[in-house]
Each structure stands twice: as structure tokens, then as C-alpha cells.
């Protein structure tokens, strides 16, 4: 595979349909050869953004640069991008090999050479010998791979994927995640992957952009996105959390203390906050633990109200003065010391995040 990924640069791209703003002005830089995900709930504009990158939709304003070249005015067939559709859009009346080689056929490659390349690509996606089948005869996972092979056949610099795994069952989806990641590494093509499934994005991506209501709220690596969400939306969309509203009473060195109904919570300030401002404090369930006598920034006396065994992890629900808190811990089996009913639970300041919120929301 001689293809190499190129970078994608969106400059103040926005899309409006009539009075409806599907995509607010956004800047986005995707590096060459990166596995980049755009994560967001349905209707957040991520598919619209993808159509802008692929060239099916002209942005209302802004420029699209691919590999440093302005391609805003080029059609989808003139861009070094290939799109994998949510429903795959395989051609049902062509064989698998014809499907894969369609892009080459459009480029005037001869029949023999087309077939050779198609077989090569089918090898890459582990579908050797399936070239003469019809798409209808394949399983969901196999069709998925045909779609990938068809898109890769035109040697795109950027591969765009529109939730292509959403139709597969869980097991196959997990398997295909690994496979897509492998293919991406092997080909070096830039992948831009659209999904509403946070675990999918976290598992595969080098970096993730979280989108909400047409706006990109945060672009970061999966680890940082999860640990340091920039906005309440990102925190809420990516993973579970305990959240408490309150007022900022103290700030220092990027940390803030918030008085909430359950007591004072100290955490990292995601954005600068002022003393007296309304704020939201969040902590992930798996960061909450038994603290015993250990000194910790946040400490609460609580009693266990419910315990849900989920296999490898156990979810504990606690009640305390002014509220509840969920804690998640690895299943330690029957040695578990969470079984007692009253506990001292808590977390470090680095495990909690404080966001400023509109006063009216508080």
C-alpha cells in the first residue's frame, strides 16, 4: 500500500440550512495518518461535517484544506477522500470484486489489473477468495470489510467513516474496531471516524473531537478527554459521572473548591472560575474509593444503599447528607470490604473537575 495519509484542516467552517445552523463555525485540524473520531449525539452536526469534508456539501462559510490544498470548491470525486457510508452502500448488483474495483474502473484501469488489485485488497481485509460472491451473500461483518476495501481501492489520503459499525452486533463491532485500527496502521491513511458511541471512539482513536449542537466542544486524546473534560457536556457524554451543583468558595493554581449540598468538593478547574460563581463539580464513579483513615482532598461519610454486580466491576450506590454518589470498583470477589454498610468514601482533587455554569442553571 503506497498510500499515505494527509492532514485535514477546517477553517471556520459553518453550515446553515435556512435559519437552522447545522454546523457552527468550527476550526479543526486532523493530522496526517491519524485515527481521528468525531463524537457526538445524533443531530449534533457530525455527519454534516463529514459531508463537508468529503465534498458532498459545500460549507456556507469557511475553507476545507486537505494536505494543505484548498479543496472547498472541489466535488467528492476530485478529492483524495473516500467515504464509507453508514449503510455501506455496496452495489448489490455487482460482485464483491467489482464493488472493490469500482473506483479503479472509474479511473480507467484495465480489467485484469482491476481484478488483481481487488484480490489484493480483499486479502488485506481478510476476504480472500470472496471476490465472485454477491454482497447479498455476505454476512454483516464481511460486507463491512468489502466497504473498507472498496474505499481503500482508490488509495485515498483520507478515509471518512460514517458510523459504519452501528448495524453490527456487539461482538462483531468489537472485533471490527480492532480490525479497522489495524488496517489504519497498516495503510497509514488518515481516518476520520464519525460515531455517537463513546466507547468506540475511546477504543480506536488517536484523538477525538466531541461535538454538541453544531459546535466542537473539545479536541483531545481519549485519555485526556476522559480525565479532563473541558465542558459539562463532554464530561456527561463521555463516560459516567457524579455531578453536584454549587458555588465556588476558593480558587488556587487551577484548582477550585465548590460548596455543594453534599459538602465541599475540591477539584481541577476545567476553565478559570471566579469565587462566588455558580459551578458544577463532577467525579467519575471509578475514581471514588474507600478512603479509610487516609488523608484526602474530598471525604464523605456515606452508607451503602445498593450494590450492582456487573461482572468485572461492581457499582456501589451510596447515600449521604444532601445527596447520593455512585462508586465503581473492580470486583474483588468475596474478599470485598465494600460489604460493610457505613464507609468513608472520597477522591483526590485531581479526580474531580469543576466547570463554571450559567447562574440561572445553578
Amino acid at each position: 500500500m503506497a498510500t499515505h495519509g494527509r492532514d485535514v484542516h477546517l477553517k471556520a467552517v459553518s453550515v446553515t440550512f435556512g435559519t437552522f445552523t447545522a454546523v457552527a463555525p468550527n476550526h479543526l485540524e486532523v493530522k496526517a495518518g491519524e485515527f481521528f473520531s468525531i463524537l457526538g449525539p445524533s443531530g449534533c452536526g457530525k455527519t454534516t461535517l463529514l459531508r463537508v469534508i468529503s465534498g458532498f456539501l459545500s460549507p456556507t462559510a469557511g475553507r476545507v484544506l486537505i494536505g494543505g490544498t484548498d479543496m472547498t470548491d472541489l466535488g467528492p470525486n476530485e478529492r483524495p477522500t473516500a467515504l464509507i457510508f453508514q449503510n455501506l452502500a455496496l452495489f448489490p448488483l455487482m460482485t464483491v470484486a467489482e464493488n472493490v474495483a469500482f473506483g479503479l474502473e472509474a479511473r480507467g484501469v484495465g480489467r485484469k489489473e482491476r481484478r488483481r488489485r481487488a484480490d489484493e485488497l480483499l486479502d488485506l481485509v481478510a476476504l480472500s477468495g470472496m471476490g465472485d460472491r454477491m454482497p447479498g451473500q455476505l454476512s454483516g461483518g464481511q460486507r463491512q470489510r468489502v466497504a473498507v476495501a472498496r474505499a481503500l481501492a482508490v488509495e485515498p489520503a483520507v478515509l471518512l467513516l460514517d458510523e459504519p459499525l452501528s448495524a453490527l452486533d456487539l461482538k462483531l463491532r468489537q472485533h471490527m474496531r480492532a480490525e479497522l485500527k489495524t488496517i489504519q496502521r497498516r495503510t497509514g491513511v488518515t481516518f476520520i471516524y464519525i460515531t455517537h458511541d463513546q466507547s468506540e471512539a475511546l477504543a480506536m482513536s488517536d484523538r477525538i473531537a466531541v461535538m454538541n449542537a453544531g459546535r466542537i466542544e473539545q479536541v483531545d486524546t481519549p485519555d485526556r478527554l476522559y480525565a479532563l473534560p473541558a465542558t459539562p457536556f463532554v464530561a456527561g457524554f463521555v463516560g459516567e459521572q457524579n455531578s453536584y451543583r454549587g458555588r465556588v468558595v476558593e480558587t488556587a493554581d487551577g484548582y477550585a473548591a465548590v460548596d455543594t449540598p453534599i459538602g465541599r468538593i475540591r477539584g481541577r478547574a476545567a476553565q478559570p472560575v471566579a469565587v462566588g460563581a455558580a459551578a458544577l463539580a463532577m467525579v467519575r464513579p471509578e475514581r471514588v474509593g474507600l478512603v479509610g483513615d487516609r488523608e484526602t482532598a474530598n471525604r464523605f461519610e456515606a452508607h451503602l444503599t445498593n450494590r450492582v454486580l456487573e461482572g468485572p466491576v461492581v457499582t456501589h450506590e451510596f447515600a449521604m447528607d444532601g445527596g447520593t454518589m455512585v462508586a465503581q470498583a473492580p470486583n474483588l470477589g468475596i474478599r470485598s470490604h465494600w460489604l460493610a454498610s457505613v464507609h468513608a468514601i472520597g477522591f483526590d482533587a485531581d479526580d474531580a473537575v469543576v466547570f463554571p455554569v450559567e447562574a440561572s442553571d445553578a
Partner: protein, 346 residues
């Protein structure tokens, strides 16, 4: 059967089946069988020879009667009397044969087609193929626009514009074309402004004498039968497939050739079959448009055999030949397009 009873109950199912049986037997099988039977026999009246012989026998009878009245010899009179009786008997037999001719079964109605009629038959098939192709060329873009390339409202308006003229009687639509293409019609009138024609001096362009006038009216008359089957199949095409093809770099003609047309194939085949059948059998369009100025279509010949020549046997044979040609066309189209009856029934 079980399902029908479950869905509608025994009463309605019986009625439905009965209606279907009546329709199939009474409207399809019986008329076709009668037609086939009609086409396979003819009445042998013995042609002109029989008439001549009857005339000659009458003459002989008159002579014999004259001789009988003027003869006095009893023996001769007796012989003449026997002869007169014989001749009277013979005349009665001959006249009976003339009145009730023999019904002769055979393929004579088919083989008796004259060269000129055969020519018209071939020409009609050719013309019908031309009309079908023309209709396909006109209708495919229309169906494509309505099904895939327009937003909801525009597609609705387009289809409405197609359907509304069909609220008019077919004859009126044909007469509309007649008024446009007539010697002193709209086009010739407009051309007079530019000095191309001169209606007063009877210098006009005889559009109506060209088969193209019939083609045009016919395409217009049967346009919906081509548009709707194609529209229906195109509607079911996943637009993502078109976008995928475009994304992979395919040109517009290639997208049509490789993605859209293969998908629309059953619709195109049904449209072609319907348009061909209708135009090959169309009587009113060629009759009204040419008014005898252009060549006949075969359907006009069939009409004349039935209602002017009053020869139902030849008429039936002609009609059956046309039907057979249409059947051949249908199977040809199905073979060429590689579709089965199942696809058409969808």
C-alpha cells in the same frame, strides 16, 4: 388459499375467486379462444366457377322448358320432363352450396396475407419499436428527475404535470397534437410569420404525412406507461449508492450505466413492454394523425378486415399475428434485460 380465507373470511374469498374465474374465463380465455378459432377457418364459396355453373344450369333449364312446351312427341316430352327435374334438383344443390359454403379449417388465413399487408405488418412492428425507444429516451430522464434528482415538492409537481393531461380523453390529447401539426396548424401558422410557409397558397410543411407525427403523438399518449414503472424502480434505489459511486470518482454516465440503470432494469423492461404493446396495437393515434395521408398501421388493417371487409377470419388471423409478434417482443426484452416474470410482477 388458506391465507386468503384467513384474511378475508370464506364469503369474500369465494366471491373474489369467482370474480377472478369469471374474469379469466370470460374476458381472457373465451375471447382469445374464439379469436384463435375464427382465424383458423374460412368459408369456401367455390369462387366464380360456382356462379357460372349456376347460370349455365339455369340456361339449360330454360332451353329444356322451351323444348318441352313445343314438343308433341310423348316419348320426347317424358325425357325432357326427367331432364327438367334433374336440372331443378342440380340448381337447388348448387344454390345451397353458394348460400351455405363449406367451412374449411387450415392456416390459409395466415398464409394468404398479401405482400403489401406483410410489409405493413413489418413496418408497424418497426414503428412500435421506434416509439418504444423514443419513449424510453424521453422518459428515463423524467423518471430520474422525479425519483432521485428533485426535492419533494418539485418531484410532486413534475409527476402532477405528467398525470394531469391523462385526465383528458385520449382522443382529445391526440387531436391536440393534430391541431399543432396540421397543415394549417399551430407550427405552420408560426412558420408563416417567418415567411417559411404560406397557408393561403397551400405551401405548408406536411408534418402529418411523416411517421414522426404519429410517433410524437404516440409517445405523448403512452408516456406514463413508460415513466411510472421506471419511476417506481428508481424510487427504491438507495441514494447513497449514487453518492458512493460519485465519491469513488465515477463520471455521471458511468453512474447511470453501472448503478442506476442496472437497478432500474425491471422498470425499464416493463415500460418498454407496455409501450410496445400499446403502440403496436394503437388504432386511434395513426387513424387520427394520418387521416389516410400517411401509410396505414397494421391495427388499421385489422380494423378494416373486421368492420369494412367484414372478413372476421382474416381479421382474427391478423390480430393473432400481431399478438404473436408482441409476445415474441416481450420474451426478447426479457431475455435481453435478463429479467424473469417474477421481477416484472414486483
Amino acid at each position: 388459499m388458506r391465507k386468503l380465507v384467513d384474511a378475508y373470511g370464506a364469503g369474500i374469498t369465494t366471491v373474489l375467486l369467482l370474480l377472478v374465474a369469471i374474469w379469466t374465463l370470460g374476458m381472457v380465455i373465451a375471447p382469445q379462444a374464439t379469436m384463435l378459432d375464427q382465424s383458423l377457418w374460412s368459408l369456401e364459396r367455390g369462387t366464380a366457377d360456382l356462379t357460372v355453373e349456376i347460370d349455365r344450369t339455369y340456361n339449360e333449364l330454360s332451353t329444356a322448358k322451351y323444348d318441352y312446351e313445343h314438343s308433341k312427341d310423348a316419348e320426347a316430352r317424358l325425357a325432357l320432363d326427367i331432364r327438367i327435374q334433374g336440372l331443378t334438383q342440380k340448381i337447388a344443390e348448387l344454390e345451397l352450396k353458394e348460400k351455405r359454403p363449406d367451412k374449411v379449417y387450415g392456416l390459409q388465413n395466415y398464409t394468404r396475407m398479401t405482400d403489401i399487408h406483410l410489409q405493413i405488418f413489418m413496418k408497424t412492428i418497426f414503428y412500435a419499436v421506434m416509439v418504444t425507444l423514443l419513449a424510453l429516451v424521453v422518459c428515463y430522464p423524467v423518471a430520474y428527475m422525479a425519483a432521485l434528482a428533485s426535492s419533494g415538492l418539485r418531484a410532486t409537481l413534475l409527476l402532477l404535470a405528467l398525470v394531469i393531461p391523462y385526465a383528458l380523453n385520449e382522443l382529445l390529447r391526440i387531436y391536440a397534437w393534430l391541431m399543432i401539426l396540421d397543415y394549417q396548424g399551430v407550427i405552420n401558422g408560426v412558420l408563416e410569420w417567418f415567411g417559411v410557409t404560406d397557408l393561403a397558397a397551400r405551401r405548408w410543411i406536411p408534418f402529418l404525412e411523416s411517421p414522426a407525427a404519429v410517433f410524437m403523438a404516440m409517445v405523448y399518449t403512452y408516456v406514463l406507461f413508460m415513466v411510472f414503472p421506471i419511476y417506481n424502480t428508481l424510487e427504491t434505489l438507495d441514494r447513497n449508492q449514487i453518492e458512493a459511486a460519485r465519491d469513488l470518482g465515477a463520471s455521471v454516465p458511468r453512474i447511470h450505466a453501472r448503478v442506476i440503470i442496472p437497478h432500474a432494469k425491471p422498470g425499464i423492461a416493463v415500460g418498454c413492454i407496455m409501450t410496445f404493446m400499446l403502440s403496436a396495437g394503437s388504432y386511434s393515434v395513426p387513424q387520427i394523425m394520418t387521416r389516410g395521408q400517411g401509410g396505414d398501421w397494421f391495427s388499421q388493417l385489422v380494423y378494416r378486415q373486421f368492420f369494412e371487409a367484414n372478413n372476421w377470419n382474416i381479421g382474427a388471423a391478423y390480430a393473432f399475428s400481431l399478438l404473436a409478434a408482441c409476445m415474441v417482443f416481450v420474451f426478447l426484452v426479457m431475455t435481453v434485460f435478463g429479467i424473469r416474470l417474477k421481477d416484472i410482477a414486483r
